[in-house]
Structures are given as structure tokens and as C-alpha cells.
């Protein structure tokens, strides 16, 4: 009824006239990509995440050692200083480390690690080391980097309480920690779209019942719920099975928010004239859903999903940290941090806190990427 002769006209025409043919025929996803690329922090975060995930995928190759191999004599050894200048003051192009010499403090019997400056152990790329099977398929013993002497141990980020290489374990731990969010979100996504879509599409009583259920689930305190559910998992289960049940537990809460978003968007979109027009065109329900509704909120949903992943990563880390999630011998960042609970050990070996940095960086990166995606997800919002 109202004459909305508004600014949109002006702005759209701005787009139309100023841009070349490329913009005029740009699809939704191209527009999303262009807008996302303008968000510098999000792009950097995306690169960081790409790096993290490549490391997780090629963990065996990237990690210099076997994650379970321990060297008692190196228990709680600190990180090496990577050097370019030798004690005589000569510069070396190839970085090297001095091996540790372990002595005991005469009073406290605490181990003291002193660098043996007489020995130089050079680092190398693609060095031979512990044999492994990449993805359980390809046998190899070439590692991305390490000390050239296969018997020596490079302590990049220090050693843990039983003398296992912390960097190696962080690399392996990223597999579980980084994927649990993806799998969990995939599951939430599936449930959320299904239930939220049903709720939105059918409406009426079904909608009301589903909404009440979702409200109830959201009223539950998340963490205690997770804790309670996870103790129901037998301790002697294999890692993979525990992993999947933890994912399911984490998704119990995750899907509700996705379902709400899907439902909300569904309702909003059904009001759009172009959806009504499609129905009058004679488009079937399925065609309306898959050709009109889903593409319209897919980008937005993906942005929301990206923002949900960090919650899952945090959930796993928290559960494993307090000993209710994954248990050793499984390796995840949470499990690694479980080691870091004893404050007296921590005081002397602060590097045990390093997995924290990885958790924070990956969560931060997901948040930035999600933010960038959310801003870019509706390229038509300004028109």
C-alpha cells in the first residue's frame, strides 16, 4: 500500500551502472566470495585454518616423531632453542640445536636440562625418522622436518611427563580436536535442517510441539548435561566409538539452535513474494524447497555452522580436560591439557600449556571466518 519509493532504487542502480558485465552476471556465490574477500581478518583466518587442517590430514608426515614413543631420559625436557650461530660466533645457514644433557639438582632431585654446546645437531627438511603408515596406507619414514640424525630428538615445543614429544602430540591431537567440531556440526546440521525445516514447512501443531521440545532442550544446562551423558560411555570402548558418541553428545545441544535458525528463515522466506510466485508458477513443494528456499538460506546457514564449530571444539576440550571425554591413549588437545592440571609440574614445565594456544587460535580463526561469512552471506542485504 505504501509507496516505498526508497533508497534501494538508487543503490541498485549504482550497482548496475558502475559495475561491468562481470558483476551483472555474478551469481550469489560469486558475490558472497567477493564480499568475504573484503574481510581481511576472515581471509587470514581461513588461511590459518587451512594450514591447521592440512597439518591434521598429514599428521604422520608433519610430526617429526611417533606420538607414543617415549624417552624416559627426556621427561619434561624444555623446548630446544633453534640456533643459527654456534658458540664460536659463526653463522650457519642451516639451523641447528644442541642436545640436552640431563643432570639432577642436588637438593631437590629435580631434573635439569643443559644444552651441550659441544655438539651441533643440524635440522633438515624431509629427514628420515620413525616409520609410519600415512592414513594406514602408505608406509614411509620421511618426515617434513626434524634433526638429520635420526636417533637424536628435536624438542620443538618441549617433552611431556613421560618424555613424549609435545609438538608431535599436538599435531596428532589436532586430528581429533579439529574434526570433532566438523563431524558434530555436520550432524547438528542434518538434524537441524530436517527438524527445523519440518517445523517451518508444516507449521501448526507439529511446529508447536517441536518448538516446545527445542525450548526444553535449550533450558538444560549444557555442560552438566554433557558431563552426565559422557559418563554413560564405558571407559573400555575403542577410541573411534567414544569419539562418535562424544560427537553425538555434543550435537544434542547444537542442533537446536540450527533448527531454530532454519525455521525462522523458512518462515521469513515463505513470506517473500518470489516464493509465492514460484508456487503460483506451479512449482512443486520439492522444487520450491530445493530451488528457492534452500539456496536462499544456505549461505546464511553455513555462516552459522562455522560459528557453531568452535563450541564443539571447546566442548570436547573441556570434557577431555576433566577426564570425562576422550581418554588416553587417544590424543586430543583436551587430553593433552589433562596432563597440565598439576600446578607444580606446570610451574616448572609451562610448555605443557601450549595446546591452549592451538585451541585459542583455531577457535578465534573459526569465529573470524564465521563472522566474515555471516557478513557476506546475504549479498543482497544492501539492495
Amino acid at each position: 500500500m505504501t509507496q516505498t519509493a526508497d533508497v534501494r532504487t538508487v543503490q541498485t542502480e549504482a550497482v548496475a551502472e558502475q559495475a561491468d558485465e562481470r558483476v551483472l552476471v555474478a551469481s550469489q556465490w560469486q558475490l558472497v566470495r567477493w564480499r568475504f574477500l573484503q574481510h581481511k581478518l576472515a581471509v587470514i583466518s581461513l588461511i590459518v585454518l587451512g594450514l591447521f587442517y592440512s597439518v591434521a590430514i598429514f599428521a604422520e608426515f608433519v610430526a617429526p616423531y611417533d606420538p607414543t614413543e617415549f624417552r624416559e631420559e627426556l621427561t619434561l625436557a624444555p623446548p630446544h632453542k633453534i640456533r643459527f650461530v654456534d658458540p664460536e660466533g659463526n653463522f650457519h645457514l642451516r639451523p641447528f640445536v644442541h642436545p640436552f644433557e640431563k643432570t639432577l639438582d642436588e637438593v631437590t632431585y629435580a631434573a635439569i636440562f643443559i644444552e651441550d654446546e659441544t655438539v651441533m645437531q643440524p635440522l633438515g627438511l624431509f629427514v628420515k625418522g620413525d616409520p609410519y603408515k600415512l592414513w594406514g596406507l602408505f608406509e614411509s619414514d620421511i618426515h617434513l622436518f626434524g634433526l638429520q640424525d635420526p636417533d637424536a630428538r628435536l624438542s620443538l615445543l618441549g617433552q611431556d611427563t613421560v618424555g613424549r614429544d609435545l609438538f608431535t602430540r599436538i599435531v596428532y591431537g589436532s586430528r581429533i580436536s579439529l574434526t570433532i567440531g566438523l563431524v558434530g556440526v555436520a550432524m547438528s546440521f542434518f538434524l537441524g535442517i530436517l527438524i527445523g525445516g519440518l517445523s517451518g514447512y508444516l507449521g501448526g501443531t507439529v511446529d508447536m510441539v517441536i518448538q516446545r521440545i527445542i525450548e526444553s532442550l535449550r533450558a538444560l544446562p549444557t555442560l552438566p548435561l554433557w558431563m552426565a551423558l559422557s559418563i554413560a560411555l564405558p571407559h573400555d570402548w575403542p577410541v573411534v566409538r567414544t569419539y562418535f558418541f562424544i560427537v553425538i553428545i555434543l550435537s544434542t545441544v547444537g542442533w537446536t539452535s540450527i533448527a531454530r535458525v532454519v525455521r525462522g528463515r523458512f518462515f521469513a522466506l515463505r513470506e517473500e513474494d518470489f516464493v509465492g510466485a514460484a508456487e503460483l508458477d506451479g512449482a512443486s513443494n520439492l522444487r520450491v524447497i530445493f530451488r528457492y528456499l534452500l539456496p536462499s538460506f544456505m549461505s546464511y546457514i553455513i555462516a552459522r555452522l562455522t560459528l557453531a564449530i568452535p563450541q564443539m571444539i571447546l566442548g570436547e576440550t573441556a570434557l577431555s580436560f576433566i577426564g570425562l571425554g576422550l581418554q588416553p591413549p587417544a590424543i586430543s588437545w583436551g587430553v593433552l591439557l589433562n596432563d597440565a592440571q598439576a600446578i607444580r609440574v606446570l610451574a616448572l614445565s609451562p610448555w605443557l600449556l601450549l595446546p591452549t594456544a592451538f585451541v585459542v587460535v583455531s577457535i578465534l580463526a573459526f569465529n573470524f571466518v564465521g563472522d566474515g561469512l555471516r557478513d557476506a552471506s546475504d549479498p543482497y542485504s544492501h539492495v
Binding site: D281, G282, A283
Partner: protein, 362 residues
């Protein structure tokens, strides 16, 4: 009462006959969703849409004109009433009783253009996809090449450059988008087009382009328009006949020129008087300024819904709802009004030099 007007539209030319159309929306409240009232959006509306004409539904917001148009195309299912649709000499079919598959076929011939050209085009589809969608759904094209050819033709029809068919709606201005919407509406070669406030959101200069385009297309393709609008001047220009709606009912219907110059309902008179005219000479003309707001269809006054704002209202108006009555003699074009005093009042239309200011004129 409506039986009396059954042959009103001189039936044989009617392509769509709306009979006693009713659309109520329940007002629900509380936890248990008890129904506490009814919004009588459309309340017993009957009229004929004749082949090749432009009939305008005009009225203020909430008068039910849009709901009426939606109930005709069955975008909303009416609460009661019939909508007969007939092509040529075939037997009329009642759209309100149709199943989905039959409706799909019928809707090839009745198409719709929306008010907001931003919301009515899917921003994620190219022109080819948007305009070609109905063709594909109804299996009217065999190959992608044929589709391109048909869409190109349609773009030419609405005076757009066919080379733009790979562009997305964001590449077009409001007026151009409305042309695209028209092309989509025409893609299945329909008989009837319902234009729901199709020019209201456009700037004046562009609005004029679209108004003329619609007229040209009507001449070229022999279309029938149901033109829903609130702007009386636009309606005056575009329509052959006009139906004025107030609070869910048609209060007056007749040929445009006749209705504008000799209105037979006080509401029509007030609307005409209120419409601003871009002529400074009429600046000091006496005007009828209605008091209060448009009647709330969820809480209608008794009797004639217009009586609280009507300067001619009498006690009868508060008690009895006036039926829509034929005013013209047999053989003359039909002119109907729903006012108890339609034949007694002398109301001022456009061009009227004097306005009866005397309340007791009736």
C-alpha cells in the same frame, strides 16, 4: 441479496465471475489459541471480470482488495464463495473447488504481478531462469535453445534488451525489475493478469512507463487485467471499470468515467475528493476530509461499515447493511452502489465545481 445482481456483469463476456467470496481470518489469543474474533478481510464480494477489460479494485489499506485478488488465484483459499473461470465457450470451472493439479493448469491462464519488484524476483536466479521457470515447470520448452529463444522474445516484449538474460536481478533498477516480473507473468501466454499494486513502489516517471507498457501489452495480446491499486489517478488512467472496496466489501462498481464523474457512494466521493491533484488551480476547492481511520476489519461497526465516517449517515445506516444495488437502467452500462441512499444523494465527482456541504442534502 446478491442474487439480485447475478447477471450484473452482463455475464456472457465474463472470463472470471466471483460470487459471494468470503475470506475470514481467525483472531487467536492465549495459550490454547482460542478464537476470540474474526478479521473479515473479504466479506461477500461478487463481481465479473470481462474478457479483455481492465477492472480495478481500489481502496485503502486493509480494505481487502489484495486478499480478494489472492483468493481469485487461490494463493489463499477463500472461506466461502465461488470463483468461476471460463475461456471462450468452454464450461466455467470453479477455482475454489479445484485440486492442485487442475489448479496448476488453470493458473497458466491467470498470472500475477506483485507490488515489490525487489521481493518478487529471486535474487539468486538469472533472468533466463526467472522468466523461463514457468515454461520449464509446465513443460512448454523442449531444449535449452528453445528456452533461450522464448525468454529473449519475452524480454523484447517488455522492451528489455535480450542480451541481458544472463544477468541477475541485482543488475536492474526498480522499473526494469517490474518489466522482468511482467515478462515472467506473460511467459505462459495467460488470459488474465492480476496486477497487485504493480506500480505503487515505482517513481513517477517509471510508473508512467509501466502503466503504458501494460496498456500496450493488453492491446497486443488481448489480455484481461485485474488491477489492484490505491492510487485513484492511476486507476482512472488504467482501468475500464472500477470496483471501490471498503472494509472487505465492494461499495461501488461501475465504468471508470461514470464512477469518477458521478460517484454513487459517499466513500467514493470522499476518495475522489481527497486525491491530490497536480493542478494548483484546484488548490482552494472544497474537500471532503473523512474523520478517523479506516474501519478495522477485525472490529467492524454494525450496519454500513462506513457510517461512522459518513457525512450523510442516518439511523438506518447504523442498523442495516446496505446491499450492492444496480442503479443504471437496463441497456446502460452497469453501475452499482452499496448505499441506502445511493439514488437520493447527489455526490460530487471529478470536475465538480460545487461540493454539497450541506449535511442534510439527502
Amino acid at each position: 441479496m446478491t442474487d439480485a445482481i447475478q447477471p450484473a456483469g452482463r455475464g456472457d463476456r465474463a472470463i472470471i465471475s466471483v460470487r459471494n467470496l468470503v475470506k475470514y481470518f481467525p483472531i487467536e489469543s492465549g495459550l490454547l489459541r482460542r478464537q476470540v474474533g474474526l478479521v473479515k478481510a473479504v466479506d461477500d464480494v461478487s463481481f465479473d471480470l470481462n474478457d479483455g477489460e481492465t477492472l480495478a479494485l481500489v481502496g485503502e489499506s486493509g480494505c481487502g482488495k489484495t486478499t480478494t485478488s489472492h483468493c481469485i488465484i487461490q494463493a489463499q483459499r477463500p472461506t466461502a464463495g465461488e470463483v468461476h473461470f471460463r475461456i471462450g465457450d468452454t464450461r466455467p470451472v470453479d477455482l475454489t473447488k479445484m485440486e492442485k493439479a487442475d489448479l496448476k493448469k488453470a493458473r497458466r491462464n491467470i498470472r500475477m504481478i506483485y507490488q515489490d519488484p525487489y521481493s518478487s524476483l529471486n535474487p539468486r536466479m538469472t533472468l533466463l531462469q526467472i522468466i523461463g521457470e514457468p515454461l520449464k515447470i509446465h513443460g512448454q520448452v523442449k531444449s535449452q535453445d528453445e528456452l533461450r529463444a522464448r525468454v529473449s522474445d519475452l524480454l523484447r516484449l517488455v522492451r528489455l534488451d535480450p542480451s541481458t538474460l544472463n544477468r541477475y536481478p541485482h543488475a536492474f533498477s526498480g522499473g526494469q525489475r517490474q518489466r522482468i516480473a511482467i515478462a515472467r507473468a506473460l511467459s505462459l501466454s495467460p488470459k488474465v493478469v492480476i496486477a497487485d499494486e504493480a506500480v505503487s513502489a515505482l517513481d513517477v516517471s517509471v510508473q508512467a512507463q509501466i502503466l503504458n507498457l501494460l496498456k500496450e501489452l493488453q492491446r497486443e495480446l488481448g489480455l484481461t487485467y485485474l488491477f489492484v491499486a490505491h492510487n485513484l489517478a492511476v486507476v482512472k488512467y488504467e482501468a475500464d471499470r472500477v470496483a471501490v472496496m471498503y472494509a472487505g466489501k465492494i461499495v461501488e462498481i461501475g465504468e471508470t468515467e461514470e464512477l469518477y464523474t458521478c460517484p454513487k457512494h459517499p466513500y467514493t466521493e470522499a476518495l475522489i475528493s481527497a486525491a491530490p491533484n497536480p493542478d494548483p488551480d484546484t488548490k482552494n476547492r472544497p474537500r471532503i476530509v473523512l474523520t478517523g481511520d479506516v474501519a478495522d476489519p477485525g472490529n467492524l461497526p454494525g450496519g454500513c461499515s462506513f457510517h461512522p465516517r459518513c457525512r450523510y449517515a442516518e439511523d438506518l445506516c447504523k442498523q442495516e447493511t446496505p446491499p450492492l444495488m444496480e442503479l443504471s437502467a437496463a441497456g446502460e452500462p452497469s453501475h452499482q452502489s452499496a448505499c441506502h441512499f445511493a439514488d437520493r444523494l447527489s455526490l460530487a465527482g471529478i470536475g465538480a465545481a460545487e461540493l454539497t456541504t450541506d449535511r442534510d442534502a439527502a
